[in-house]
Amino acid sequence: MSMFVSLTINGLAMGMVYALLAMGLVLLVRAVGSLNFAQGDFLMMGAYVSFGYIYMLKMPEIIGVILSVITYAAIGAAFMVSFYWPVRKAKWSQAIMVCTLAASMIFKDAANLIFGTTTKAPSAIMPGSLKIAGLSLQYQYLIIIGVCFFVILGVFTLFEKLYFGRMMEAASQNKYAAELIGIPTILTMAATYMISMTIAGIGGYLVAPIFLVETTLTKLQLRAFAGVVVGGFGSLKGAIYGCILIGLIESYSTYVITTYKDLVVFGALLLTLVIRPQGFFGESIAEKA
C-alpha cells in the first residue's frame, strides 16, 4: 500500500509538471496555430535562470524566484519577437514550427556556453521527507503538487473564466475580427508567449532539484506532447488530465518495467491515437482564421 501511495504522489507530481508544459503548448497552438518544439527548452531555461539567481548570484531564494518569474516573462516576449514575429506572414505554414526547432538548438547551446556543461545540483526547496506510518514522501514532490495546482488553477481561470482570457481566445480564433472590435492582438499574442514561458519556467524551477540543471531537461516536453494527445489536442482541460494520466502511467509502470518505461508511456499514446484520436477529454481545436 505504501508503495502505491509513493508511486501515486510521484506520478501526480510529474504529471502536473508535464501539465505546465502542455498548457503552454496548447495556448501557443491556439494563438499561432503551430506546435512549439522549444517548449521543453522553456522549462530548461527556467531551471537555469533560477539556478543562476539563487546559486550563482547567491540571492535569497524568494528574491531569486521573483526575479526568475520576471525573467521568464521577458524571455517569452523576446522569444515571440525573435522566432515568431519575423516569420508570422511566411507563405509556408510550417515556417513557425521550423523556427521553434531552430530556437531549441540555439537555447541548448547557449545554456552550455553561458552556464557550462557541468551538471548543476540545486538543493530541494524543502529537503527531507514526510514520514507517516512507514510511508516516506519527499517534501519536494508535495511542494511540486501544491505549486503546480495553484499555477494550473490560475492559468485555467484566466483563460476560461476571465475577460482578458476571452480576449486572448478571441484574438487567437479570428485575429481580423478581434482587431475590428478593438482587441490589441499583438499584446494578447505577447501575453500568451509570456505566460507560456513563465509556467514552463516555474516547472523548470520545481523539477531542478530532482532532475538537476542540464540541457536534457528539454526531453520532458515529449511527455507533455503525449499528455496533450491523450487528453485531447487543443483543450486546456484535456492537456491537464492527459498529462496527469501520463505521469501516473509512467510512475506505475516502474513497478512492472523499469528500463523500458518509455515504451509503456508512448505505447499509451499510440493506443489513444488508434482507439480515440480526439483524446479522452478533448474538444476539437478551433480552426485558425
Binding site: 505504501s2 508503495m3 509513493s6 508511486l7 510521484n10 506520478g11 510529474m14 552550455n112 557550462g116 556543461t117 557541468t118 551538471t119 545540483a121 538543493s123 527531507g128 521527507s129 514520514k131 516516506s136 519527499q138 514532490y141 530532482i210 532532475f211 538537476l212 542540464e214 540541457t215 536534457t216 526531453k219 510512475s251 516502474t254 513497478y255 523499469t258 528500463t259 523500458y260 518509455d262
Partner: protein
C-alpha cells in the same frame, strides 16, 4: 614494474603555463628553480616527435570531462618531455580529436586520427559504446589503442589492436559479489543498474556469481535508462518495499548522485555498495550531499588516494590544472605513461612493435598495477572507498578475483 627509463613518474609535477614561454627562458627558469639539484634532464627533441593520439570531448555534454583528459595528458607529456622524452630524446606530442556527443562524431574523430601522419598509438574513448563504435576503424588502421571503457564486450571483440587497461565490468561484478556477501554480509541485495552495455554486463555477472557461488538471489533488480531517467523516487520506493538487506548499484556520475539522494530521502539505512567511481565522484557527491555518506564503492580513483604515487599525482594535477583530479584525469595520466612505456620497450615508434610491447605490459601506475596476460584487462586491483562527511575516503583495496 617498468618506469625504469628515467621518467620521474613516482613524483609527478610541473606547473601549467599560463602563456607560451620561450624554450630557452623556460629552461633557464627551471635551472634556477632546481637550485643546485643534481643532474638536470635534457629536454626532448621536438623536431621529430613521437605522436600519440588522444580522443577526448571538446564538444557535447561531456565537454567538461574532456578538459580533465586534456589536462592530464598535457601534464604527463610535459613531465615526460622534461625528463628527456622517449627513444633516446624524442619529444612526445599529443594529437587531440573530438568525440562530440555521439558515436558518429567519435567515428569521424577516430578516422581523422588514424589518417594523421605519424600517429604511433591512441588513447581511446572512456565510453564503452564509443570504443565499440570505433573498433573497426582501429582494427583497419592497425594502430595500437587503449580502449578506456570497461564493458566486457570489448574483450570479446576480435581486435588485436585494442588493449583494456581498466578492469572490465565482468571482473568487477565477480569482485563485487564476493565483497558484498563476505564483507558487508548481504544475502538479498537490491540491484540498481544503468541499462547500457557496461551496467548490464556488470549486473549479469554480479547476479550470476551471487547465485552460483553463494546460492543467493537479489531481492529486486532495477534497470534504468541512464540517458533519459532522472526521477529515481519510484525506484527507491520499490527498493524500500522489497525484502532487500542491502543495495548494490552502478551508474554514471549524475545518476549516481540522484540514486543516492532518492534512497536517502526514502529513508534507506541498508548497507550500500557501488561498483564504480561514479558514486564517489565530485559530481555525484555534490548532487547527493550527506545522502552519499556511508556508501562503499570500488573505484579506479579517489582524490584521497592511499599510495604515494597517487598522492603525488593528485598534488601535481591540482597544481597544474587548478582543481582536483577525477577518474578520467587519473586514468588518462596512467594511459599516457603506459603508451610511452610500450613505445620505449618497442624501441621505435612502429605500430606493430608497439602493439607487441603492449602485450607484455607490466606497469605500476598511479591508479593500479597493470599486467597484460593475453586474455583479460590489465588492472589488478581497485580502491575501496567509503564516503565519510561527503568525502571519498580510501579504506583499502580490493584485488581482482582470480
Amino acid at each position: 614494474m617498468s618506469y625504469c627509463w628515467g621518467f620521474p613518474h613516482a613524483v609527478p609535477g610541473g606547473e601549467k603555463a599560463e602563456e607560451p614561454v620561450l624554450k630557452e627562458e623556460s629552461q633557464e627558469q627551471e635551472k634556477e628553480e632546481a637550485g643546485g639539484q643534481e643532474e638536470e634532464a635534457t629536454a626532448a627533441d621536438t623536431s621529430n616527435p613521437v605522436k600519440i593520439g588522444v580522443l577526448t570531448w571538446y564538444t557535447g555534454t561531456r565537454a567538461d570531462l574532456g578538459t580533465y583528459i586534456c589536462d592530464a595528458a598535457d601534464l604527463a607529456v610535459k613531465e615526460i618531455n622534461e625528463a628527456g622524452g622517449v627513444l633516446g630524446g624524442r619529444a612526445v606530442e599529443i594529437v587531440y580529436e573530438d568525440m562530440g556527443a555521439d558515436q558518429q562524431t567519435t567515428i569521424n574523430g577516430a578516422q581523422k586520427m588514424v589518417n594523421t601522419e605519424g600517429i604511433s598509438c591512441i588513447l581511446g574513448p572512456f565510453t564503452s559504446t564509443f570504443d565499440l563504435a570505433i573498433s573497426d576503424v582501429i582494427k583497419t588502421s592497425q594502430i595500437p589503442t587503449l580502449a578506456m571503457g570497461s564493458a566486457t564486450t570489448l574483450l570479446e571483440l576480435d581486435n588485436p589492436y585494442y588493449h583494456l587497461p581498466r578492469m572490465t565490468d565482468e571482473q568487477v561484478g565477480a569482485m563485487a559479489a564476493q565483497y558484498v556477501v563476505e564483507t558487508l554480509g548481504m544475502t538479498k541485495p537490491a540491484v540498481i543498474y544503468m541499462n547500457n552495455d557496461s551496467g548490464v554486463s556488470f549486473k549479469d555477472v554480479f547476479v550470476t556469481t551471487l547465485k552460483d557461488k553463494y546460492g543467493y538471489e537479489p531481492a529486486i533488480e532495477i534497470g534504468y535508462d541512464n540517458e533519459t531517467e532522472k526521477n529515481y523516487a519510484p525506484y527507491a520506493a520499490q527498493i524500500m518495499n522489497s525484502e532487500a538487506d542491502g543495495v548494490v548499484a552502478t551508474g554514471n556520475q549524475s545518476d549516481a548522485g540522484l540514486v543516492m539522494r532518492a534512497l536517502y530521502d526514502a529513508g534507506c539505512d541498508l548497507p550500500k555498495y557501488a561498483r564504480n567511481s561514479a558514486y564517489v565522484s565530485s559530481v555525484a557527491l555534490e548532487i547527493a550531499g550527506e545522502a552519499a555518506n556511508g556508501w562503499y564503492a570500488t573505484a579506479d580513483w579517489s582524490t584521497l588516494p592511499l599510495e604515494e604515487q597517487g598522492k603525488a599525482f593528485e598534488a601535481a594535477y591540482e597544481a597544474y590544472a587548478g582543481r582536483e583530479a577525477n577518474l578520467n584525469a587519473a586514468c588518462t595520466y596512467d594511459a599516457i605513461y603506459l603508451l610511452v612505456d610500450a613505445i620505449e620497450r618497442a624501441g621505435n615508434d612502429d605500430t606493430e612493435a608497439i602493439n607487441e610491447a603492449m602485450k607484455a605490459m607490466d606497469y605500476q601506475g598511479v591508479v593500479t598495477h597493470y599486467v597484460a596476460d593475453g586474455k583479460n584487462s590489465w588492472a589488478q586491483y581497485l580502491l575501496l572507498v567509503q564516503t565519510q562527511d561527503v568525502q571519498p575516503v580510501v579504506v583499502g583495496r580490493v584485488d581482482r578475483v582470480k
